[in-house]
């Protein structure tokens, strides 16, 4: 019985990955036969571009704006590519604010500062949770629970803050937009917070809250939305599947022995990737049966990254043919490909 995936040559990164949720973002650039990977280390972001023939890699590093080196108050919480029909942007969220770059990290096109108080308060201040929604929105979450909705023009730096959604009462952990590509889905975006509360949104000039699924006092660290189904990963190691608009629980999986740090879905095949502090990356398969309105999840594959607390895992393509993994203190992006 051959393994579903096998390990490929790792990509070396200049700095090790920090223990942050969803600490790997992947951008596939088919016209140039390249894939970009980005990993956060404290107040820097490493971007590695790897050619598909495996022959060329190049590196770039970005820093958080105004890095203060005496104390650690400009740490980056997350970096993610936002794919919009007209353009791709790289978004960095930190304790100071939100930076948006052209997709190769060459030019910063926008900076939004967070309201940072003069002296530190018990409540942390940072931005975390990034999602590109529909044609022209990028949404970013805040530690206060707010969600900033930015209106993105098809080119240039004239990005504006369209509205602030105030539904969550606790820190936003992750956000995701509907990734099936289907125009029929009512729900465009889901946001998750530290109590495990999930909010389901419809985008527009004014975003509309379609549903709020109450958490059970356990942080939801990673969330995805596919064909109207919310897939949520929790600190308890559990994965839950909900119907977004109604909140009906489809499935519950005792998936990991430690905190889940990353989920990803390959939209064309319905493969789900989950990764946790327990050193395991697991591949699952989601099947939808519209007639009976059921969603099923079955387990496909395990990969144990020995002695590593995994902090990022993403598919490299829409079919789930390959995926990359990052771990705390690891200076490489480990890659796996289907056998």
């Amino acid at each position: 019985l051959s393994k579903m995936y096998h390990k490929e040559k790792s990509l070396q990164i200049k700095n090790s990955a920090s223990a942050l949720y969803n600490n790997l973002s992947v951008l596939r650039i088919a016209p140039r036969s390249l894939t970009y990977f980005t990993v956060v280390h404290a107040n820097t972001v490493s971007i590695v571009s790897a050619s598909w023939d495996g022959l060329n890699t190049s590196h770039r590093q970005l820093q958080s704006k105004e890095p203060n080196v005496a104390t650690s108050n400009s740490l980056i919480m997350q970096a993610a590519w936002c794919v919009l029909p007209s353009r791709d942007l790289l978004v960095l969220t930190s304790q100071k604010g939100i930076q948006m770059y052209e997709s190769d990290g060459s030019i910063m096109v926008y900076w939004h500062a967070l309201d940072t108080p003069e002296t530190a308060t018990a409540q942390a201040v940072f931005a975390r949770g990034i999602a590109a929604v529909r044609e022209n929105y990028i949404c970013v979450g805040e530690a206060s629970g707010g969600i900033l909705v930015f209106d993105i023009p098809s080119k240039g730096g004239n990005i504006t803050l369209s509205e602030v959604l105030e539904e969550h009462k606790e820190s936003i952990t992750d956000m995701a937009s509907e990734c099936s590509g289907s125009q029929e889905c009512i729900a465009d975006m889901v946001s998750a917070d530290d109590t495990g509360t999930l909010c389901v949104w419809k985008s527009g000039e004014e975003f509309q809250l379609l549903n709020k699924i109450t958490g059970f006092d356990m942080s939801c660290s990673s969330v995805k939305l596919w064909k109207g189904t919310v897939v949520a990963g929790y600190g308890t190691g559990q994965i839950r599947l909900y119907e977004a608009v109604t909140g009906i629980l489809h499935a519950e999986v005792n998936a990991h022995a430690r905190w889940i740090y990353s989920l990803d879905i390959a939209p064309f095949s319905g493969l789900l990737l989950s990764a946790a502090e327990d050193s395991f990356v697991r591949v699952w398969h989601l099947t939808m049966t519209p007639e009976s309105n059921t969603v099923e999840i079955s387990h496909m594959y395990n990969e144990c990254v020995t002695d590593t607390q995994i902090c990022g895992a993403k598919f490299c393509d829409g079919d789930g043919y390959a995926f990359g993994v990052t771990g705390y203190d690891l200076s490489e992006i480990i890659r796996y490909t289907q056998s």
Binding site: N15, M77, S171, D194, V253, T294, D307, Y328
Partner: protein
């Protein structure tokens, strides 16, 4: 990131320092009354009211440099002296032990239990000294008040902040290597077996539900690990069984404390990335150090024949050798604070220490 990280880091490092010093004082047969004085002096300084007030304020974590300077001062709060090489080694051991505890905490909330293990041990050390004991009790109360209401997500943020602080540190510690909790490359072993954390289920079950909420099917998958059910949760009261062992004294059996410098790791240079020298200390860091040194004012420098030197190595020659061969990238860049009011003992007694047999 989290503004509640510093107290836990300080108590963890302080706790480990006390375990190590306690072991070295016994190993070098320092007279019990002198040993007790050293421990009491250090603990009194650690729990100085003004200093703790500063420590518990919501604030970002201090730089590695600032924290190392604090512990340099603490270690010299009494009649005991340490040479540079021994202080470096002491700090290496303290930080790697704390990194281990933070990394292996089953749940982020268990960081508090680890702190309580340290506190319990400190309390035991000063149980015969009522004034210090009441300072320690006050600190328990403060920890309970501030930390027990925090959510799991907030604890994870604290843990993530600590993990950034400890990032890229892979110093090999003899005791960890022997116990097989650390690999020869300096990385800690993360078992895929044992009890799951409290609140987590053993990975294996998939449950599917119908729209009306009824379970329609369930099946198992192979997790690849060998897990067992969670243990009961540890107590977060002033007294109680903490259940987890992280943060308890691993030196209680007398074992030599050696470290190997893993300076060849290309990532050890990354230690200095976030805090590049030479930067002045931030205002907050200076404040804290001033408070700490205010606490030291009460200590009279030892009289000529009561001071002594502790060696973290088996012999003086080893200590000298360690100083010469310490890789540059592992230097802590300790600052010489001019404002210190504590003068080093002008007549250090050459209290000859017998090397370990």
């Amino acid at each position: 990131m989290s503004s509640r990280t510093l107290p836990l880091l300080f108590l963890g490092l302080g706790g480990e320092m006390l375990y190590i010093l306690d072991q070295r004082l016994r190993a070098q047969s320092i007279p019990p009354d002198k040993a007790r004085k050293v421990m009491n002096d250090i603990i009194t300084t650690m729990f100085n009211k003004k200093f703790l007030e500063e420590l518990f304020k919501p604030q970002e974590l201090y730089s590695k440099k600032a924290l190392r300077t604090v512990f340099d001062r603490l270690a010299h709060a009494s009649i005991m002296r340490l040479n540079q090489a021994s202080m470096d080694k002491l700090y290496d051991l303290m930080t790697m032990a704390c990194k281990y505890q933070v990394l292996l905490c089953p749940r982020p909330k268990d960081l508090l239990l680890v702190s309580f293990n340290h506190m319990d041990a400190i309390k035991d050390l000063v149980k015969e000294a009522p004034p210090i004991l009441s300072q320690v009790d006050d600190t328990y109360r403060q920890l309970i008040e501030i930390y027990t209401p925090l959510s799991s997500g907030e604890f994870q943020l604290i843990r993530q902040t600590l993990l950034i602080f400890f990032q890229d540190m892979h110093i090999r510690v003899s005791i960890f290597l022997k116990d097989k909790v650390q690999n020869s490359n300096g990385r800690f072993v993360l078992p895929t077996s044992g009890p799951v954390p409290h609140g987590t289920q053993v990975p294996s079950l998939i449950r599917l539900f119908r729209c009306n909420g009824e379970e329609s099917r369930r099946f198992q998958f192979q997790s690849g690990g060998t897990y067992s059910s969670a243990l009961r949760p540890g107590s977060l009261e002033m007294f109680g069984d903490r259940v987890i062992k992280l943060g308890t004294n691993m030196y209680s059996v007398s074992r030599p404390v050696e470290t190997h410098m893993s300076g060849t790791s290309k990532n050890s240079a990354q230690n200095t990335k976030v805090n590049t020298t030479p930067n002045p200390l931030a205002k907050e860091e200076l404040n804290m150090l001033a408070r700490l040194m205010g606490g030291l004012e009460g200590q009279k420098p030892g009289s000529a024949d009561s001071g002594f030197r502790v060696n973290l190595f088996a012999t003086d020659e080893e200590e000298e050798e360690a100083l010469m061969s310490r890789p540059d990238e592992l230097s802590y860049g300790v600052l010489n604070i001019q404002a210190t009011k504590v003068q080093p003992n002008p007549n250090p007694t050459d209290y000859r220490l017998t090397p370990d047999p």
